[in-house]
Amino acid sequence: MKKAINLSVNGVSHTDEVEPRMLLVHYLRDVLELTGTHVGCETSLCGACTVMLDGQAVKSCTVFAVQADGATVTTIEGFAKNGELHPVQEGFWEKHGLQCGYCTPGMIVTAAQLLDRNPDPSREEICHGLEGNLCRCTGYQHIIEAVQYAAKKAGQS
């Protein structure tokens, strides 16, 4: 019993028929072939699957695709515009905010939302804002510095 959904992903409109139980992350990855969004735990604990859903950073492993019907979604693939990296992406590159890169897309989406809400966060506010995203490689220090870099850069522009 498939259900029709229509949503905008990274500025492109998509209409598809999906099983009601299909997870948004599987819709993005398997149907739209946007594999930058990763699955790390299937239980909303690691944050690797974080995407923007109507302006909110959500964990797409616990959202059904049908719940995103009519929504606007931005995945990591939608962050760089016209070949220009998003300031958070640039921060991750400049500050070595990633090693294996698996958590990185989710981290970048979360960090972008954090800066949207609080353009000049303290270190504690950054740490608090990233609590829903796990990284096993970096020890977070360089991620925190990446977010600080992005905040500074966005503040200058």
């Binding site: 099983e19 239980t43 693939e77 970096t138």
Partner: protein
Amino acid sequence: MTDNYVGKRVKRTEDPRLIRGLAHYVDDIALPGTLHVAFVRSYYAHAKINSIDTEAARSAPGVIAVYTGQDVSGKIGPVPCAGALPDLKVPDHRVLATNKVYFVGHPVAAVVATDRYAARDAVDLIMVDYEELPVVTDVEEAAAGGSVIHDAFSDNIAYRLTSGEGDIDAAFAAADRTVKQRVLHRRLAPIAMEPRGVLARYFPGEEELTLWSSTQIPHLMRTQVALMIGIPENKLRVITPEVGGGFGSKLNVYAEEALLGWISMQLGKPVKWIETRRENIQATIHGRGQVGDIEIAFKNDGTLTGLRYSVFADLGAYHQLLTPAIPTLTGLMLSGAYKIPAIQMNITACFTNKMATDAYRGAGRPEATYIVERGLDLVAAELGVDPAEVRRKNFPQPDEFPFHTATGLDYDSGDYETALNKAQEIAGYQQLREEQKKGREEGRLIGIGVSTYVEICALGPSQAMPAGGWESATVRIEPTGKVTILTGASPHGQGQETSFAQIAADELGVNINDVTVIHGDTGIVQYGIGTFGSRATAVGGTAVFVAIQKLKEKAHKIATHMLEADASRVSFEGGKYSFEKAAAAAAAGTSDPVVPVGEAPAGALPEPQTDGKSSLTLQDIALAAHVAKNLPPDTEPGLSATYFFEPKNFTFPFGTHIAVVEVDRETGDIKWLRYVAVDDCGRVINPMLVDGQVHGGIVQSIGQAMYEEVVYDEQGQLLTGTLMDYAVPRASHIPNFELDRTETPSPVNPLGVKGVGEAGTIGATPAIVGAIVDALAPFGVKHLDMPIKPENVWQIINRG
């Protein structure tokens, strides 16, 4: 030669694809017609399988096939164990359980279906009739007898081993004092953020199988899987695309990797299995898992005279690749950074009804460092002296290297006191001690922990390794002048695409953007060993370096010929081979214009133009070498070199970590005040990458010291089966790291590098635990077992 890159903070060439979500991990590779596999796994820790009813599953929508242990028994060889120890018991480890299950998560059946949802649905339709058997989860109980897990053996002891040098009994008999402490190293789950995953594709016509697997060891896996499923090794290609972290958990050959390959061969279709996190915690190797007693003999002046460690190692139900070897690595490092004339380790390694333990970041060495460093703290407490001073007193001095230990090793180089001094200076150690004293008078519980660790890295000489300890590299200059490096090391986040390119760009005098590092594909790269044991740069990077020297010898010969010069008068500088007499002209800016690399004309290869030139770029020489119209006699066309580097010894990085914490009397919460680390990993290729490795390692230590623990109950049920229960550190759990370095080159390799991948996980836990114990010293605390949680601390404060 240039010095544009090595030693500099060069941004990673890996990152643009990763930060834009354009990289490919195993699950990101989609092949048409791929079938998906899901596993039925045991929910008992020990049970007899009476029957498996797969009928309902076989007829479920989308299901293509179901395989049980009976179906594959005799068709797929056992899961390999590379441990070679005297009298080691090796249980027959099949890819699917045959008659019994031995741990929660043990794979029992595999379902193949058209999509992952259908496969998962069908798993629930398979009925397994289990008959529960007695469970052994406690390693000491396993050693003492209890019920025997494997019918093939008379007891649960996989092996016993005593190692060490010096007269240990005499050392203890003659000691002024001794300390003794039982120490637990709990089981940990490595938790790479990308779980394991395999995609297998068999082409029946070509008889070729390709396995995409999230592994640290593509070549070793190729050999082992070929043997397991009976395909010629040269018909099996293993590709490791992007690997989302390993930490040792992917330094293995797992049942699923062979089984997926075999299934693809049966069905002639691509098949994919992506591990769920629950499976990952159940059925990917665990780390640590030791219970031991440490005894230290010493003189009244603090001089160490003997160390004994008697340990029960919890191996789990089966051996994975290196399971039995891990406790022996602990034995190797029991001398720590100290002169200890007599050392003995007694291992009793046992089977239990749990997942196998194996290499998790540090792999036996964090246990050793923890034992020695906790021991030194106990010695200091016993003598009433500062823990840093006990350490300082027992260091070998720089002129005593190579330093022979009573564990049978020869440490390559070291200057332990300089690192300790530097860390103490950065931390303001004396002032911290004064603040601590003052704080205590005010009722504050501040603790300072010191760890002066040494680790064994760059694994290692082949004599000491189960399957080769060398590493390989091919360096090629393509006709257009682009540099291609094929490395047998298989990095997965460490950044060697950048650091190896740094080495090559400087050695060849080219732009780093003209260098590409290829790894993790057995169809492209010559045989290699892999990335683990902090070896990739020290062993694999050296292979790159030496291969470049070989390549330059050939390039020099060709240049000499093309310039019609005497070999001794042609020199290589800044990416150019020049006549001596040409150097002045080149400096004056009148040298011949060189087509920048990457701007060679499109279409047919240009003819090499050498007439009248006084210098040649590598690009000119590469083109000439490939066009091969004007080469010196007896010179092979092409411009590439391959080198297999065999290290003569391990390397021994070291350093000092100082942790400062404050304990909250009301809640037992542990708050970070400072964290200072001075690490010496030899020569540094890229300081930014080194810092990243140190940060990540320390945070895994924080996890071990304060949060993480794989818990099985008495029935062998895994109580920490999700990331809700298994507590991996989050951003708010970390201190602000203050890092610095000393740089003592290793004499073991021409780069002078030692390795840094595991330093943090090895050096940090004793500093953190030492700090917490020190904070609680007013309550008479001398030792606490990890993980130290606020509830433990609160109970100590409130027990009166």
